[in-house]
Subunit: 233 residues, 2 copies
DNA sequence: CCGCGGCCTTTTGTTGCGCCATCTTCGTCC
DNA sequence: GGACGAAGATGGCGCAACAAAAGGCCGCGG
């Protein structure tokens, strides 16, 4: 499947990058492979675009191929089936979200409070910078059929992020000497808020770009840990 | 499949006797029409069931008919097309929600605070009592194609409920002498929370039946209007 | 007993996925 | 350095699934 190509890409990336250096080692970088990988990426991008704009039902292999500017057989060649293509798309998006999360939440040297703020940022930035990606997530996770794919790829990460955030809240509560804070309800609320914002903004894009999500999350955090989170103005 | 149907119909006609006493109150209603209406309802129910369980993509006219125990032509007969059927389904669900909203929010003699609490109740009850209906809403509003249907039937009501809730909050704020409350952010947050809960519980049913939605909505209301809303314990 | 309305079967035309035969382009081996 | 082989790409086709239309049947009510 698609993983083979990712693996091959690593091998190439190791040395082909600085290949400008004169005539050393005659770089055997396979231009066929490069072309193929570029095609794979273009197909994934086109699929995201189409799904975000039109939904799953009306997306066909030929429409994707058409959008890419190739024949449908090329799509079938790279991803053996439609389901495989969708799986690759979701994996791609999941990886992009993970990158952002790692940068904003798991960056070394951050305090738990900073990490929590990073998580808030993560949710908001992702939705603002890549509304189409969010749409694809929503579409995939709604239809039960494609939900099988989401259950395999998206949901586990999703639950992991929630759990990680929950641990952060516990740590803040403990080290801050707070008692009587209902962590489970709080973290679940934040989860609802994030997904609600994503979902609602997908179905009613005009409400995007307000600061409601961030404000409310900070409000809840402030209400629970007043000494550690400032209210937004 | 269809043979059973004909047989059942036959039996039904003969059975009208032993159901009630011989000369039961002269039915002024056309029994054919009754049967037809029952079919319509059964088809709608089956469609809801199927969409909630499998998503839009894999639902076909024949699967619906099969689930109802009739031929696909019967479905086509009652609703002229698939799109029309879906429209009827969404209209049906929208009507059910409206009934609940009218009962809980617009009941005569309620104070604004009671109405607001009614709105909270409405969102929670609907999700608890009819998870499949919520699933259908989510499915319809996710796929852009069927979103055209949702935009016509579901979204206007949705926006109306949000607007009505917002008016309630304004009224409470005014009559309660509150100043500096950001009504727009508050009502939008509550909206996010409701849709987030519906969406998340649809894609991760195990988290249903907690009280998080209600608790958090009341928390936000209490935070804005402390003299009018008690916290849950 | 007759006509109509609800119900069903069969048919038709369309669409989409996946595969095959073929072609091109590029590394590699002798 | 020239031919072979493999990866990448193309067009088209077969099979299956689907929505929808055309037409016939049957029981019910008048």
């Amino acid at each position: 499947m698609a993983q083979q190509k990712a693996a091959a890409a690593k091998r190439k990336g190791a040395m082909a990058k600085d290949g400008v250096s004169a005539n050393d080692a005659a770089p055997p970088k396979d231009r066929r492979r490069e072309r193929g990988e570029a095609s794979v990426q273009r197909i994934i991008d086109a699929t995201i675009e189409l799904i975000a704009e039109e939904g799953l039902a009306s997306v066909t292999m030929q429409r994707i191929a058409e959008h890419v500017g190739s024949s449908n057989a090329l799509v079938v060649f790279h991803f053996r089936s439609k389901e495989n293509l969708f799986r690759a798309v979701l994996q791609y998006l999941s990886d992009r979200y993970d990158e952002l999360w790692v940068t904003l939440v798991r960056a070394p040297g951050l305090s738990p409070v900073e990490r929590a703020l990073g998580a808030v940022d993560c949710a908001q930035r992702f939705a603002r910078q890549h509304p189409k990606w969010v749409s694809v997530f929503v579409v995939f996770s709604s239809d039960r059929k494609s939900m099988q794919i989401y259950d395999e790829i998206g949901l586990p990460s999703d639950l992991a992020y929630t759990a990680e955030a929950r641990e952060l809240l516990i740590e803040i509560s403990r080290s801050g000497g707070y008692t009587g804070v209902d962590i489970d309800t709080l973290s679940e609320s934040l989860n609802y808020l994030v997904h609600g914002a994503w979902y609602w903004d997908h179905l009613n894009p005009s409400s995007r770009d307000t600061n409601v999500l961030r404000k409310t999350m900070l409000l809840l955090l402030h209400q629970a840990f007043p000494r550690h989170f400032e209210l937004m103005r």
